[in-house]
Symmetry: C2
Subunit: 235 residues, 2 copies
């Protein structure tokens, strides 16, 4: 999961590094989630689709986009703004992860509010389920996933009920306080139904080691431990 903000802050060389990292991941047989939480009016959402998943036609020929295997999307602007990103991903054989409920402490104030009706995150869960209906594959899972909080395991059972065919991207494990051990509800449909992300605890794992080889070992060790716990959960 490549966090676009961390590349963008280095300007054009940063964007080139993002393209290089994507290419290197593909060469290593890995899938790339471009985590930019993009969302804008339909016309602009289509441009983000070109940037991350498709290509941009120009008078001098098409310019290829990043070629991500999945993107994260911010759904605040609504269904018509979400669909161009989902369509761009689907055309490219890629996926979309819609932000349904984020993992930060301040998420509750807006995303859990809703008066007597459904909370905002429940509305977003329904929208995600609906937009994903046309993209259900042979395994029974949809190409439209959901970003859900590893920091709020008590919400997962209800979110799974609202989105039975949705792949969950569990955000907030590690530095943000989420524990893989608490996430079994997310994996109910099967081991492929959820992804655990732990960006900061993995990226920072090698910082205390001075030598590159030791840094890589530390990162591998953290990653391996998370993988073992996750596989134990999904049995």
């Amino acid at each position: 999961k490549l966090q676009l903000a961390c590349f963008e802050r280095l300007g054009a060389p940063g964007w080139q590094a993002l393209a290089d990292a994507t290419a290197a991941a593909h060469e290593a047989g890995l899938l790339v989630i471009a985590d930019g939480k993009r969302g804008d009016v339909p016309h602009t959402a289509a441009a983000y689709g070109q940037a991350l998943l498709g290509e941009t036609p120009t008078p001098w020929g098409g310019v290829e986009g990043l070629g991500a295997d999945a993107v994260t999307a911010n759904p605040l602007l609504g269904r018509d703004a979400l669909e161009p990103l989902v369509d761009a991903a689907r055309s490219a054989g890629a996926g979309t992860f819609v932000l349904v409920r984020s993992s930060n402490p301040g998420a509750a104030e807006l995303q859990d509010a809703g008066g007597t009706g459904a909370s905002l995150h429940e509305r977003l869960a329904r929208l995600t389920d609906e937009v994903g209906t046309d993209g259900i594959g042979q395994c029974g899972l949809s190409d439209v996933g959901a970003v859900v909080p590893a920091t709020q395991p008590n919400l997962l059972a209800r979110l799974r009920e609202l989105m039975p065919r949705t792949i969950f991207l569990l955000a907030g494990v590690g530095a943000q306080g989420g524990r893989v051990e608490d996430l079994s509800q997310a994996f109910l449909p099967g081991p492929a139904a959820a992804l655990v992300t732990a960006s900061r605890s993995i990226a920072d794992a090698g910082l205390e080691q001075a030598r590159a080889g030791e840094q890589a070992d530390a990162v591998r060790s953290v990653t391996e431990r998370l993988r073992e716990i996750t596989w134990a959960l999904t049995g």
Copy 2:
């Protein structure tokens, strides 16, 4: 108002063109709004602040960000995720425009919903007003503005009531159907209290002309007409 999606879709050269366009605008004495509707968990929101408004420390020295005079922000993730962007802007003497209610047809389904309580856009308006309290300048306006819909003029009086010190970025004039003539409520505190944006009708104005000089004239003509109508409103 530079639309980041339109640059990002050209990759690293696009991001360089964004930097060049920003520099050219500054040389011409213009202010630049970087329209990326960014929003993410606090740690990542701070990185977007570095990308667009500040600089990124590295072992080889600081890397300057885009240097925008204002950015647009997506507030779905809540107050703690919005504040790092607002803080980065404030430290740079720049502004933030928070998406309160977008201009696309699908906005109503999520942003106008809210059960018996306040609608989501009313909650976002209150949040925007509150986050802007510490940034009110001598003119009585805040450094935290709001993106509001020129396509829904009937919402403007209520939004102005909820955000009396907020500069409105009126989105959706022209191609999206908004008419400047309908927006007088937005300018009630004074002529500086609202900005009219009409990106597509201006960017597309010269497309029918083949020669560069004629294209520039067509763009100038559309811009001048919008400016005249706006000034007549704010008289």
